[in-house]
């Protein structure tokens, strides 16, 4: 500050200086972002980089390791269990996500109608998503259990199954069906509620206009609902694809990857190889095998969503 020809420096109180500093966007922004960034680096980036490092090394629990390049990835392809797992992952994810999508849209449309006890029903729909997965899967394990299967008991008493009924967790196709069913049961609320949110946001006038133009319920669904829902659907499918690919609990509790590896997923096989057998390098390679594919899927989806949005 200059008073006449004398320069005077006035030190503002600390409180005021801090307030001034925080008023600047270029300071406040990074300040707010830093904790989240720190957490991301600590909890996501660091473990991810470690996993990458392990995947290209011959790491074995507690022993010195060295770089082996892509040998783990190449060797894995020699393993029958891994090839089976690779196939299972696509069958499991493809069928589970498709079912969740179809059933999720149906359920959301149903929930969007004027129903009695609407709130209670919407709350109840969320239940499978709220209960811890391991616990609810244990319930399913009992229902599919070869000794006490309530599914078979019901099927036999309804006359739709011949005694003793399918060996749900002991035969490969049935076992895959069982894990898909539980995954669909578990993931359906996510689809239904998210799609419902999308449905609610569609303006009623569009339906009224379509109705005035003579469009029936099916035409209204195809030409109004579905196009306007597509960005929401894309996001839901994207998230669900990633979660389903990396599912662990359901298979671990229900089948442990059996029978004869027919239900192993990347996560369960990675645990078996990486933790239980100590081969961390191979385990990490199993978990990261589909990482490039998933990155591509994410890129395509986000591109699609962006195009829909603008």
């Amino acid at each position: 500050m200059a008073v006449g020809n004398i320069a005077v420096t006035v030190r503002l109180p600390l409180r005021v200086r801090v307030r001034e500093l925080l008023d600047r966007e270029q300071v406040l922004g990074p300040l707010f972002v830093t904790p989240a960034l720190f957490l991301l680096v600590l909890l996501v980036a660091y473990p991810f980089c470690m996993a990458l490092y392990f995947a290209v090394s011959n790491a074995f629990i507690g022993r010195p390791s060295h770089f082996v390049g892509l040998r783990n990835f190449v060797n894995l392809w020699q393993s029958d269990a891994f090839r089976q797992t690779f196939q299972n992952a696509f069958v499991f994810t493809g069928s589970a996500v498709a079912l969740k999508l179809v059933l999720g849209i149906s359920l959301a449309v149903l929930l969007n109608q004027q129903l009695w006890f609407k709130r209670a029903i919407r709350g109840a729909v969320l239940l499978p998503w709220v209960i811890p997965t391991a616990l609810s899967t244990l319930g399913w394990w009992w229902m599919f259990n070869s000794l006490y299967s309530v599914v078979n008991w019901t099927g036999i008493h309804l006359g739709v199954m011949d005694p003793p009924g399918p060996n749900w967790l002991g035969q490969k196709y049935y076992a895959m069906t069982a894990v898909v069913v539980v995954n669909v049961w578990r993931g359906l609320p996510f689809f239904a509620i998210t799609i419902l949110a999308g449905l609610v946001s569609i303006p009623r006038e569009l339906y009224e206009a379509a109705e005035a133009d003579g469009a029936g319920p099916v035409a209204r669904f195809w030409h109004v609902t579905l196009p306007l829902l597509s960005p929401v659907l894309a996001i839901v499918v994207l998230f669900s694809t990633i979660f389903t690919f990396s599912d662990f609990n359901i298979v671990y509790v229900l089948t442990h990857g059996g029978p004869i590896n027919s239900t192993h997923l990347f996560a369960t096989l990675a645990r078996q190889v990486g933790l239980e057998s100590g081969q961390i390098g191979q385990g990490a390679a199993i978990s990261l095998y589909l990482f490039p594919v998933l990155v591509f899927v994410v890129w395509v989806h986000l591109r699609f969503v962006r195009r829909q949005a603008y």
Binding site: G62, Q78, G278
Partner: protein, 425 residues
């Protein structure tokens, strides 16, 4: 002589001492923390954990060493141990199941001195304890106890049908056929669980076969003995068992026997103990008999447990004191073993005729001599390759393939290929 001032004297001695301590990375004896921590599994015999806590309190009172025991479920052990090893931090002592001392060999303190002391007191360690904890010539863990696999059967059904208690796996087939006709099939899992391996191994060994040679490298699964094994499983599956065994977990055979369905199972004595504790109607009907044999002898898989001390522990000596206290004092060890009600038995030769076997006449079969106890994959040492073969459930999967229609030779060739790939990897 130059006189040293009070300040300089204090500065020099304190600085030098601190430097020495920092260089050695070991605190001086007076400053050492007399507190140790032990990571243990949640015992299938919970009374043993409770007793261990009581013993730990007495240990603290007698030695002044504080002991903290943490318990975790056994499926969580690999992840927890891997985390401790990777971070080089955690507990001082860890409970080790089966082949764990091999898995964590470079991270475990040499405890040969402790084992020598214990063997002097209690006799040699049983074969499975030796196979599990004696790693490349060094004891990496101290054998504690083992849980036996033993044939468990419905005595009432045998009496009702006039069946003779089997002595060989072949005789079990004859008995099993009758049991299945009575609606009480044999319960041997053929699925991706450890009980499946725990039966398949002894049957294979009894027929004179092995998965991998003693050298730990040469795959021997494709042999006439394996063909016998596969044939035996196929006829057992067809005539003595039900397809549910293909989806069984480790607990299923117990449940099947306890709920009154199975007539014979191969499992640790827990099936009976639990039935007795829960006062199930089947408890009085269950009994055990001697392990089955074959042309290759009488073998069993058991579950040896040992206790290891991490190399990164800063309290190795106090940790060793705990091991001496728990396992070295006969009266303490007996008290601990008795609390498990024959589920966990001493793993030292001179303690084989333990009083716990006389607490119930149904435990008599557990003390039968002439049975050899081994780890999975025996006679190969449980190296990382053998562990991967075991944990990949290759033998149960080979058997599952065969009993569900894959030709024997094809199933065996598949197992051989998988094992060879692991060996070459």
């Amino acid at each position: 002589m130059e006189s040293i001032g009070r300040r300089r004297f204090l500065g020099t001695t304190a600085g030098g001492g601190l430097a020495g301590i920092l260089a050695a990375r070991v605190p001086p004896a007076r400053g050492q923390q007399r507190e140790i921590s032990y990571l243990c599994w949640n015992n299938f015999a919970p009374a043993m954990d409770k007793k261990q806590n009581d013993i730990a309190q007495r240990f603290t009172r007698d030695t002044g060493i504080k002991l903290r025991i943490d318990y975790i479920a056994h499926p969580q052990q690999p992840a927890k141990y891997a985390a401790e090893v990777q971070t080089q931090a955690g507990h001082d002592l860890v409970e080790m199941r089966m082949h764990f001392p091999w898995l964590y060999e470079p991270q475990l303190t040499d405890v040969s001195d402790l084992v020598a002391e214990l063997e002097k007191k209690h006799g040699k360690t049983l074969s499975s304890g030796y196979e599990a904890a004696h790693v490349n010539g060094v004891w990496r863990a101290v054998p504690m106890y083992h849980g036996l696999f033993v044939p468990t059967y419905r005595e009432d059904l045998f009496k009702q049908a006039g069946l003779k208690v089997p002595d060989t796996w072949e005789e079990l087939y004859t008995v099993g056929k009758e049991l299945k006709k009575m609606g009480h099939p044999v319960g041997i899992p053929i699925s991706q669980n450890y009980d499946s391996i725990s039966t398949a191994g002894p049957v294979l060994w009894s027929f004179g076969g092995t998965e991998v040679d003693r050298d730990g490298r040469t795959v021997r699964i494709n042999s006439p003995a394996t063909e016998q094994l596969v044939e035996w499983y196929k006829k057992m599956y067809r005539d003595c068992m039900e397809p549910e065994v293909l989806s069984w977990s480790d607990a299923s055979n117990n449940e099947s026997l306890q709920q009154g369905k199975a007539g014979w199972i191969h499992n640790p004595v827990s099936a009976y103990i639990v039935a007795k504790q829960r006062k199930l109607p089947t408890a009085d009907l269950i009994n055990h008999h001697r392990s089955l044999g074959g042309p290759g002898g009488r073998h069993e898989t058991d579950v040896p447990r040992s206790i290891g001390i991490w190399k990164f522990s800063k309290h190795v000596e106090p940790a060793k004191e705990w091991v001496r206290y728990l396992l070295g004092k006969r009266e303490v060890y007996d008290e601990w073993v008795m609390s498990a009600d024959a589920f966990n038995l001493p793993i030292y030769e001179r303690l084989q005729d333990h009083p716990v076997l006389r607490t119930d006449p149904k435990y008599a079969a557990l003390g039968a001599p002439g049975v050899q106890y081994h780890l999975y994959g025996w006679p190969a040492p449980p190296t990382d390759k053998i562990q991967l073969i075991t944990n990949s459930f290759i033998v149960p999967n080979m058997l599952a393939k065969a009993v569900t229609g894959t030709p024997n030779k094809e199933a065996i060739a598949w197992a051989e290929t998988e094992m060879k790939k692991i060996m070459a990897g």
